[in-house]
């Protein structure tokens, strides 16, 4: 008779895996990648490939030679970090900066805490913020999207710079927008707006969001609470003084969509309970608007997420899920 296997129950598994979730996120990022290549040309692809190659390579080196442990790059988490890092960079950034950012993201942001599952901060954002603070010039030289045309890249300000401009001059924000409220559509689709790779098209990112919800990779709580907080807070400001930008502008511009859908929802660094997710999301939304309107930087999404990442353990401690009875 053959030897029977004995283990505690349950004896079946649902078939879900880390890989299924990670590659699900990657698929959801594809529409945005197509958009950025379409609008920014080969530069976008160049940055993305460099970022992914270096994050995966650094993770491999650290696991293989530093930890001397089985290599788990196949789980796809390093690829996601690479893509998200690239999506936070301008398409014209020098490649050595991309590699440096990847090293900080993987080495400092992820592996120093013990690898996947143990990091406190979103690795891609750690890399991004490191680059932003250390190399502010390169990081804020935004090319205006001109697709595959070979003319020299023209740089321009991201629309978010206008927020502070309007507040300084106390003019109604809508007057400063070239093309008025009409240009909000451009923000949505992405044509003609300067910015990072992944920020270019809100609609492509929302398409990815729909896919993630459909595959049940993430739940809707974090992104929706961020959107609601941003809309409400900026709405109140806009209503009190038209010099503050409108809620729709805040939602569609900059990294809000990318951050809310793909970075704030990072499993490892977001809270575990529904109530915690709401607090976390609202915190990110409010902080983003505070930084955008009153802070030194034009964009506050990445800082807001990192700050709320730091609050996550505390939220987990105090926000318990709804118990039975």
């Amino acid at each position: 008779m053959n030897t029977l296997i004995v283990s505690p129950s349950p004896h079946v598994h649902g078939g879900d895996s880390i890989e299924r979730n990670m590659y699900g996120v990657l698929v959801a990022l594809l529409p945005a990648l197509f958009c950025s290549v379409f609008f920014f040309g080969w530069g976008a692809l160049r940055v993305t490939i460099a970022a992914v190659a270096s994050t995966v390579l650094f993770e491999y080196i650290i696991q293989r030679y530093l930890w001397r442990q089985p290599v788990a790059i196949k789980d796809g988490s390093a690829i996601i970090t690479g893509v998200l890092l690239a999506f936070n960079l301008p398409s014209t950034i020098p490649l050595w900066l991309v590699v440096l950012g990847a090293l900080v993201a993987i080495g400092v942001g992820k592996m120093s805490f013990g690898g996947l599952g143990n990091n406190i901060f979103n690795p891609a954002l750690v890399g991004r913020v490191f680059l932003l603070i250390s190399f502010p010039v390169q990081m804020t030289t935004w090319p205006v999207p001109n697709g595959f045309e070979t003319t020299d890249a023209v740089t321009g300000p991201t629309p978010l710079v206008l927020v502070k401009q309007a507040l300084r001059t106390q003019k109604p924000f809508a007057e400063l927008l070239p093309g008025g409220e009409h240009s909000l559509l451009e923000l949505g689709t992405g044509s003609g707006v300067a910015g990072s790779l992944g920020e270019i098209s809100a609609f492509a990112l929302l398409l990815g969001f729909a896919y993630l919800l459909l595959r049940r990779v993430i739940t809707w709580h974090v992104p929706v609470s961020i959107f609601l907080a941003i809309a409400l807070f900026s709405g109140v400001l806009h209503w009190s003084n038209p010099a503050y930008a409108s809620p729709l502008f805040h939602l569609l511009s900059g990294g809000v969509m990318l951050g809310a859908i793909f970075m704030a929802t990072d499993y490892v660094t977001s809270p575990m309970s529904r109530r915690g997710m709401w607090i976390y999301g609202v915190g990110i939304g409010v902080l983003t608007i505070v930084i955008r309107n009153f802070g030194a930087y034009p964009e506050g999404m990445s800082f807001a997420i990192l700050i709320m990442n730091a609050c996550t353990p505390l939220i987990n401690k105090y926000c318990k899920p709804k118990r039975f009875a």
């Binding site: 079946v12 788990a72 013990g114 739940t219 490892v268 309970s273 709804k322 009875a325």
Partner: protein, 444 residues
């Protein structure tokens, strides 16, 4: 809108391979080994010795205390020994081994229900003592003595009897077939239990993937019974969990650490109800039960009426023999069943099924670090945080485990089922639970 419980839950593939096969009596085995501890509580005291002749239904083990149950011989023949024999867990327990000779029943057991006696003819005490004498225990797996459950503590007032026909475990179909084939008897049994408890209302909860059982029970209810309602439920695991079923059918929430009676509800499995029916009308002790023998690799999955004490190997033989690629043999369903170390283990009062899993599907994958995806929190039907409970359990933080309400865990296994990192959440939580249990005990 179909009713179900609110928090968590999972949807494992149902795999009800044997739902269409009728209950078939299993040929008598050559020998049986009847454990004297088939229930929660004190083991029964043996009444027979080596060499004694016994008949089917003869009392061979007497209940030792209030929370205990009688054990009867399930076959007729000669007692070979009263000895320590390995039970399903491999630990030695006292059992009566009987060599089967013929099939001679004890004279007190009637072969069919007496046609001239109606419900009103049985008094409450008569029914309770019949159930106690027959050694009826909860047949859904918990094996709690039924008589105790039918005697609510003073001060509590039962209002509703819930008959658990959810059978939410994948693969198992024993309760399903019982409802399809013995609908009338179940109804009478339910009426008995209602009278024994003094309740006016009973609800039979059945998951919606058993439309034939729902139809059959509805038909029987329309014909016979007042105050009984059939409640179809949305398919979701663990619907058959006591607290989940109560919430799904009545909307009442049993508080943490309390028994269902605290909200005026008593739950009994359909198998138990059937056993109670037989005990009251025929004085038939609990010596046989329906067992689902199933598995994708088995030639003939089916539902067998078999005697308590029959070796699992005999059941598997009847279902086409143990396939060569077998990895696991499970006593019960895949979610909460117990893996057997050997097929020599025997069917007991609580065995609802025998499941055979091929080796390829039996082995667990190596587990990895928690990625904090919140799946376990989402699926937990008790609103706990399995990931946290596992970590606290690994570090033996017993005090914190208790504060995080580890004792609420119903061990349904939804967390381990859903975990994408294949973490053995329930293994560690169960250990933590037993440690917290010891701590609570030592406090008293």
């Amino acid at each position: 809108m179909l009713k179900t419980f609110t928090l968590g839950g999972i949807h494992p593939p149902r795999e009800k391979l044997s739902s269409g096969s009728a209950i078939t009596p299993l040929p008598l085995p050559e020998r049986v080994s009847i454990p004297l501890s088939q229930h929660i509580g004190a083991p029964a005291l043996p009444l027979v010795k080596k060499g004694d002749r016994v008949k089917v239904g003869q009392l061979i083990g007497e209940a030792a205390g209030f929370i205990s149950a009688n054990v009867h011989s399930s076959v007729s023949g000669v007692v070979l020994n009263v000895e320590e024999a390995v039970d399903a867990s491999g630990y030695a327990r006292l059992a009566v081994v009987i060599r089967v000779e013929g099939d001679e029943w004890d004279d007190r057991v009637k072969q069919r229900e007496s046609p001239d006696r109606y419900l009103s003819a049985y008094s409450r005490e008569e029914m309770l003592s019949a159930i106690q004498a027959a050694g009826v225990v909860g047949m859904g797996g918990a094996t709690f003595p039924t008589r105790v459950k039918l005697t609510p503590p003073t001060g509590s007032r039962p209002e509703i009897l819930i008959v658990n026909g959810a059978e939410c475990e994948p693969f198992l179909t024993a309760d399903h077939r019982l409802m399809v084939e013995r609908g009338r008897e179940l109804l009478i049994g339910t009426r008995f239990l209602m009278k024994a408890l003094g309740v006016e209302q009973a609800i039979i909860g059945i998951e919606n993937n058993k439309p034939d059982a729902i139809a059959k029970m509805r038909e029987a209810v329309a014909k016979h019974a007042l105050g009984i309602k059939v409640c179809p439920l949305k398919v979701k695991y663990p619907q058959g969990g006591e607290k989940q079923l109560i919430e799904a059918t009545t909307g009442r929430h049993v508080p943490s650490g309390a028994l269902p009676i605290s909200v005026g509800v008593v739950v009994h499995n359909v198998g138990t109800v059937y056993a109670a029916y037989e005990a009251i009308t025929m004085h038939k002790p609990l010596v046989e039960r329906v067992v689902t023998v199933t598995g994708k690799s088995l030639a003939r999955p089916g539902n067998y009426l078999c005697r308590v004490g029959t070796p699992v190997a005999c059941l598997i033989e009847a279902a086409g023999g143990l396939p060569g690629d077998t990895g696991k043999v499970i006593n019960g369903g895949p979610m909460m069943g117990k893996a057997l170390a050997s097929t020599d283990a025997v069917v007991t009062k609580g065995t609802s099924g025998v499941l055979v899993i091929p080796v390829g599907e039996a082995l667990r994958k190596p587990y990895r670090d928690c990625i904090r995806c919140t799946r376990c929190v989402q699926v937990c039907p008790m609103g706990l945080e399995p990931y946290l409970l596992m970590t606290l359990g690994e570090y033996q933080r017993t005090g914190e485990l208790e504060r995080e309400r580890v004792m609420d865990c119903i061990e349904c296994g939804a967390c381990s089922f859903a975990c994408p990192a294949y973490r053995p959440l329930l293994d560690v939580i169960r250990l933590g639970k037993s440690r917290v249990g010891q701590m609570i005990k030592s406090r008293k």
